[in-house]
């Protein structure tokens, strides 16, 4: 009952309307960014329609237009009334236009010389989306060129489209990836991409969770000290451990809420950016589900992972979850110790730095480097940071490095026990009142608040 009262108060302080608004704003930002980049990606791929002005009305050009239709490009034919392209684009309300000029067929078939094509595009701005508009018109030109090429090869040299295909792709490559003494028919690149997705998603969430939880508990403790509410609270008939527990639980709940919002944001962001393919990939990475082989019979990356013994069991996910939880708890315990030293807002900011550094360094190092290939000293330093083990846990599980995983988990448990012991000791002794870290003149000075 009293613990519930304390927890309610802590949650009310952490999950304020302002915090909810900023969480919502972050989610919207992710969705917006994903949508914007998705629009760009879509416009890059969108060559489903083309506006063409045909000034050379021949059967050859008709064949080319028909072949464009076969490629699922919808051709929209227009007529120009003048050579003033700016006025014509405005009149026709177009961003770009491909012109097949008179004499195009004669150049290709009779004169056997390079024929001319014109592409007229409006410069809309410097953004990526406006570049994409020009690029989509260029794709149409490529399709026209290919159709012209095929016609020349067939009519002048008698080479059929089937023969052309064979000439253009004379070799069929089968990629085989080998791991853990097993092999699977899948491109290593593709496998790496899925692995990267899988091993990046959770660390990003963990990174944000650790950062947020740390800042929350630090603010919660230091504000109580700075606003001088802690003494009143500790003199009430509630055990100090309940007060400590309520603060930690509220920080975990709040951090979890933030992490979930962040993850939803990331899914929207990546989903929006990569379109439906990306979304599927993301879902696969998150859920670790196996998907059926793709239509052309090539093994999917997830299937291959299963074949290579890299798929993750439910048990492993549980272990991974425990490790993440312990990581957050370690961050909370360290932040609690640091937060108790703060005497003003400025010192809170300074004291946040160490926890930010020990969270960020392993995050970036494990993202770009392989710890196992490092020399001994940097490797030991990295392993001494407890958060490193959480970042490498997924890869250790996937690649079957069980000793490293368990070693990391045990180390984290010991580290957590030590931090918690110190935090409880701090909270149950005079130290909670006497420990202080002051910025400015009294920097680093451990002193008494008041005697």
């Amino acid at each position: 009952m009293r613990f519930g009262n304390l927890l309610k108060k802590e949650l009310r302080e952490l999950i304020t309307p302002q915090a909810l608004v900023s969480m919502g704003a972050m989610l919207l930002l992710f969705i917006f960014l994903g949508q914007m980049l998705g629009d760009f990606t879509d416009s890059m791929e969108d060559i489903s329609s083309a506006t063409i002005c045909v000034q050379d009305k021949t059967a050859f050009v008709d064949d080319i237009l028909a072949s464009l239709k076969e490629e699922n490009i919808e051709v929209n034919q227009v007529e120009l009334t003048s050579e003033d392209y700016a006025a014509e684009l405005d009149r026709l309300e177009l961003d770009n236009l491909v012109i097949i000029p008179a004499g195009f067929t004669d150049s290709v078939l009779v004169n056997k010389e390079p024929a001319s094509l014109k592409i007229v595009s409006k410069v809309a701005g410097g953004g990526m989306i406006s570049t994409a508009q020009t690029m989509s018109a260029t794709e149409v030109i490529d399709a026209i060129e290919k159709a012209a090429e095929d016609s020349i090869l067939l009519e002048s040299y008698g080479i059929t489209p089937e023969e052309i295909e064979r000439i253009k792709a004379p070799v069929n490559t089968t990629e085989i990836s080998v791991l853990n003494g097993k092999s699977a028919e899948v491109a290593t690149e593709e496998l790496s991409a899925v692995l990267m997705m899988q091993s990046m998603v959770v660390p990003i969430a963990l990174f944000f969770m650790v950062m947020m939880a740390s800042q929350m508990i630090m603010t919660a403790i230091s504000t109580e000290k700075i606003d001088k509410t802690l003494e009143t609270l500790l003199s009430t008939p509630v055990s100090r451990l309940s007060i400590l527990g309520a603060k930690m639980l509220a920080a975990v709940i709040s951090a979890l809420l933030n992490a979930v919002v962040m993850m939803i944001g990331m899914v929207f962001y990546v989903g929006g950016m990569l379109g439906s393919a990306g979304e599927e990939m993301m879902n696969m990475a998150v859920a670790g589900q196996e998907v059926s082989a793709s239509a052309d019979g090539v093994m999917s990356a997830m299937e291959a992972m299963g074949e290579l013994g890299m798929s993750i069991s439910v048990g492993s996910y549980v272990l991974f979850g425990i490790q993440i939880f312990i990581s957050v708890m370690i961050a909370l315990a360290i932040s609690l110790l640091l937060g108790a030293m703060a005497t003003d807002i400025k010192s809170v900011q300074t004291l946040t730095m160490p926890i930010m550094l020990v969270t960020m360094i392993p995050f970036f190092v494990t993202m770009f480097a392989d710890l196992n290939t490092m020399s001994t000293v940097p490797k030991l330093i990295m392993y001494a940071i407890p958060f490193t083990h959480a970042y490498t846990a997924m890869n250790n599980l996937v690649f079957g490095h069980t000793a490293l995983f368990w070693g990391g988990l045990v180390y984290q448990l010991v580290f957590f026990a030590v931090c918690m012991f110190l935090a409880v000791r701090l909270f149950t002794t005079d130290k909670i009142f006497t420990m202080s870290y002051q910025t400015g003149a009294g920097k680093g000075k451990k002193g008494l608040i008041k005697q």
């Binding site: 108060k9 302080e13 606003d227 001088k228 509410t229 003494e231 500790l234 009142f433 006497t434």
Partner: protein
Amino acid sequence: MGKVLEVNGLSKSYKKDVLAADSVSFSVDEGEIFALIGPNGAGKTTTIRMISTLITPTGGDALVAGHSIISEPAKVRENITYLPDEAGAYKTMTGKQYLEFMAGLFTGDKHVAERYIDRAAQICGLGDRLNEKIGSYSRGMIRKLLLSRAVMTEPKLAIMDEATSGLDVINALEIRKMIKKLAKETGMSFLLSSHNMLEIEYVSDRVGIMTKGHLMVTGGIDELKQRYNAANLEEVFERVVIENEVR
């Protein structure tokens, strides 16, 4: 009349060989208002914090309603309330939410909690402002809220460090009257600390004068004035300090 507080040789050292409080002994009767007075650094707050179970003594003990501050701190906290000097309240809460939260720490009974809150609302006199965020309160309003919180549960012993700090003359006067009234009507005991001799002279039944960690003298106001041939408490204080420096 029974004793609510018995302090026996209470000592505290933060650093080796420096005693912030040195063998302090005194007692407070039921319904009595006792005040510790002395200059800054005299050891008043240290003594009060030890009795409030916030810090652990390095020597001696104190019994609150018969419970030791060392071996039964949880029992002690059930019988006291503590109002620290310059204490704040949670700015994101409204005055009412603050009282609800604090009442919830003293009782699990909803009806009892409501009674506490009603009493505090009546004592603080903040009216509708109780529904506003504490962040919008003046210093005086916060102090009134905290004072009402400290007495709403009618503890056996209310400990107040500089009870009227931050209040204007009228508000300070109201608080002093309130303390006297509560002690008389409910039998609550008060342990106060202050620099303000005038205030202490008006409100206290007995005082203890502290300097440099020592409790020099205790006694009733009139008794001390007579003993030191002084016109007021300030003069008593001056003479006690000079006398002990000469020694």
